[in-house]
């Protein structure tokens, strides 16, 4: 529904380069919960061991004014080095990884394997009665695969949330 309060909602992927120090994730998450911002997904890992820097990728939704606030508030955190709005800065690649467990016998098992092949999912574990598939792609692709697996014995999903990087030679 496009109510008055709803239109103008934008989805943004934001990359944040931070000092890899205790409490930094709590600071970022606390900022979002404390100020009532949305988190669609959040991922974090160290990306520069020598300088002890981590990269946080946050996917969030909000009005333009809220998105600007989120970036300003993130930049204000003392251990934050850089905030980059990938959605604003130009083309970028966004990927998510998923491990998905499907259990079943006979026909459904073969069908699951066939669909996995179409989606270029890799089998990373198999037993007589189950598969674990590894699948990387956009959130939509992952969602589509989940929908297909549901009738075929889907039992468990583990997803990483989005990571993203800008296209081209420039760096953060």
């Amino acid at each position: 529904m496009m109510g008055a309060g709803m239109d103008g909602l934008e989805r943004h992927a934001i990359a944040v380069l931070v000092d890899n120090e205790p409490g930094i994730l709590a600071r970022v998450v606390g900022l979002f919960s404390g100020r009532g911002y949305n988190i669609e997904s959040l991922t974090v890992a160290e990306v520069d061991r020598r300088n002890s820097l981590s990269r946080i990728t946050i996917v969030t939704t909000g009005t333009r004014m809220i998105i600007e606030q989120i970036k300003a508030q993130l930049s204000r955190l003392v251990p934050v080095h850089k905030v980059l709005d990938l959605t604003d800065e130009g083309p970028f690649v966004e990927r998510e990884m998923m491990l998905i467990k499907v259990a079943g016998q006979g026909e459904v098992r073969i069908e699951a394997l066939r669909l996995a092949d179409i989606f270029r999912a890799r089998v990373v574990d198999s037993t007589i009665g189950s598969f674990v598939f590894e699948l990387t792609g956009s959130a939509e692709k992952l969602n589509a695969f989940i929908a297909l697996m549901e009738p075929l014995g889907l039992v468990e999903i583990s997803r990483t949330g989005s990571v993203a990087i800008s296209r081209g030679a420039a760096s953060l």
Partner: protein, 584 residues
């Protein structure tokens, strides 16, 4: 690096001294005993023992805001730290530079629910600008120096350093402040030249400009306020200030319209509503200033100068954001101002302002015989202290708003009040901090009888250090602002806002080794104020004021600037909207 390792506690002392700290407000306890031991062995740092840790933070705030320096607090782990939380939040909201050292249980006990353990960095994360847990003595001096840098640069704020007891005993190297440079935190202080030029064009073209200055000017310093004053006069534009900004522009100057906002003046609020250019300088468009957002200054272009980019476009969309130190921005504007060029004809604008001024919105009923009107008490206090270098602190409520309306400030750093958080109990400990920083000055806490009881224990601190703080209680026996809202919004059902068993403040003062007096009639007020001013040491003057008086003018919550209530008559005619009811 110093060659000789010293203990963590000694590192703390040395780092504070090297940071230019001369006084620490604190309260000892088990986890910080090593620091108290190190304090005992030296003379460079003075320690002021408060009676509750919350008082220590407010005292440090008073110290910081009256000097422009960083206020320092030292408290123990667990309850020491949690008691400090209100003060830290207050300092965060009002951008006061504070470094708060908290004790912590030894590192090997962290997470074990040890005695007096609290997750201090966890608890204080949302109420500080930044915080540190020092797990290794080798990081200690760097973290302390960094904490001072973070507390005072950019938009100032409180920083907590959590110190496990074993780290305070451990020997470690000391490094000097010059060796510490923060890896990444570099707030932008110099504004972009192109934006300054654009601002000049906008100001020159405006027919109905208004300057709106805030606490950022005070934080930027005396020079910034002087530059701002010069700029306003040069532009011949009217100027209003927020609660936090009072003193940044001389109240006696004809360009000054008084305070803006919920209890600001009629002329300031209508000027904000009707201006064609609003120049916000170190102010943050707080809801107490803007009133209903969709009716806020509808016809104006807006320039916003602020050191904190997150303050820009947060509540109100502005046309020209200028990120930088307001002092730097004001100097740049002054330097770029085209002198000699005829300004826009603003006579029409000034005529309208004079019409609004003529309403005399701070007028109050003086007909009552004998009974002391709270406004009158403050007017007399102001009149009788004009010749003195007077610092005023307040608690929170009606008395605070009357103080803001009727006490006129011509200089920055002389007005200390809890604006953003609205912390009752702020005024007395803040006055103690101010008096410590300015031993010879006159320091008055304009208080309410409800607020003062929230930190009354600090009377004991005032007595111990012979601090001659003057506590001027406007005693109406109610939590006046709560009662006013109950009258306005809840049908006059004064639920729990009357204090039935107030202490005898005169005896209370005497019990603390101070002097007290009560005054009940308007005829005696001058004499009582003179007595307060000439009586040595801490003094409580208990002023029995009209218990039913309300604070006007008022923009009720959910209303716009041009929907002000000027007095009790308006109150009856215009009930508050349903949307307004839910607002704080």
């Amino acid at each position: 690096m110093s060659a000789e390792p010293i203990s963590g506690a000694e590192i703390v002392i040395r780092a504070l001294v090297d940071q230019g700290v001369d006084v620490v407000f604190g309260y000892p306890g088990g986890a910080v005993l090593p620091i108290y031991d190190a304090l005992f062995k030296q003379n460079a740092l003075r320690h002021i023992l408060v009676r509750q840790e919350g008082g220590a933070v407010h005292a440090a705030e008073g110290y910081a805001r009256s000097t422009g320096r960083v206020g320092v607090v030292l408290v123990t782990s667990g309850p020491g730290a949690t008691n400090a939380v209100t003060g830290l939040t207050d300092a965060l909201m009002d951008s006061v530079p504070i470094v708060c050292l908290t004790g912590q249980v030894p590192t090997h006990l962290i997470g074990n629910d040890a005695f007096q353990e609290a997750d201090t960095t966890g608890i204080t994360r949302p109420c500080t600008k930044h915080n540190y847990l020092v797990k290794d003595v080798r990081d200690l001096s760097r973290m302390i120096h960094e904490a001072f840098y973070v507390a005072k640069s950019g938009r100032p704020g409180p920083v907590v350093i959590d110190l496990p007891k074993d780290v305070l005993f451990a020997p470690g190297p000391y490094s000097r402040p010059e060796d510490a440079r923060h890896k990444s935190y570099r707030p932008q202080t110099i504004p972009e030249a192109a934006r300054i030029a654009q601002a000049i064009d906008m100001i020159a073209a405006a027919k109905r400009p208004l300057f709106y200055g805030g606490g950022g000017l005070i934080n930027s310093g005396t020079e910034a306020c002087a530059g701002f004053t010069e700029l306003v006069r040069l532009c011949d534009a009217p100027c209003t200030l927020t609660l936090m900004g009072l003193g940044a522009f001389p109240a006696g100057d004809p360009h000054f319209l008084g305070m803006v906002g919920m209890h600001g003046t009629y002329e300031a609020n209508l000027a904000m509503h009707d201006c064609d250019l609003l120049i916000a300088v170190g102010a943050r468009f707080d809801d107490r200033v803007t009133g209903r957002l969709n009716a806020f200054s509808p016809g104006s272009k807006k320039i916003h100068i602020d050191i904190d980019p997150s303050s820009i476009n947060k509540n109100v969309r502005v046309d020209l954001p200028i990120v930088g130190d307001v002092g730097q921005a004001v100097s740049a504007l002054l330097a770029a101002w085209p002198r000699g060029k005829p300004a826009q004809d603003r006579n029409g604008w000034w005529r309208r302002i004079e019409e609004w001024r003529a309403r005399d919105c701070l007028r109050y009923d003086r007909s009552g015989r004998g009974v002391i009107k709270p406004q009158y008490a403050i007017e007399r206090l102001f009149a009788l202290t004009r010749e003195r270098d007077v610092y005023v602190t307040t608690e929170v409520g009606q008395h605070q708003m009357w103080a803001a309306q009727f006490f006129k400030f011509d200089k920055p750093h002389h007005w200390m009040t809890s604006g953003g958080l609205g912390t009752m109990g702020y005024g007395l400990p803040a006055a103690i901090g101010v008096q410590i920083a300015h031993p010879d000055a006159l320091v008055v806490d304009i208080a309410g009888e409800a607020s003062i009881l929230m930190n009354i224990q600090e009377m004991s601190t005032a007595s111990q250090y012979r601090l001659p703080v003057k506590i001027f209680i406007l005693n109406n026996q109610y939590m006046g602002m709560v009662r006013q809202w109950q009258e306005l919004l809840h049908g006059g059902r004064y639920s729990e806002s009357y204090t039935a068993a107030l202490p005898d403040f005169v005896k209370l003062a005497e019990a603390f080794g101070a002097n007290g007096r009560r005054v009940e009639t308007a005829a005696e007020i001058d004499d009582a104020i003179r007595w307060m001013l000439t009586t040595p040491g801490a003094v409580i003057l208990d002023v029995a004021v009209d218990p039913k008086e309300n604070c006007f003018p008022m923009i009720p919550s959910g209303a716009a600037h041009n929907e002000m209530l000027l007095g009790p008559q308006d109150e009856a005619e215009r009930p508050v909207s349903e949307e307004g009811m839910v607002l704080v």
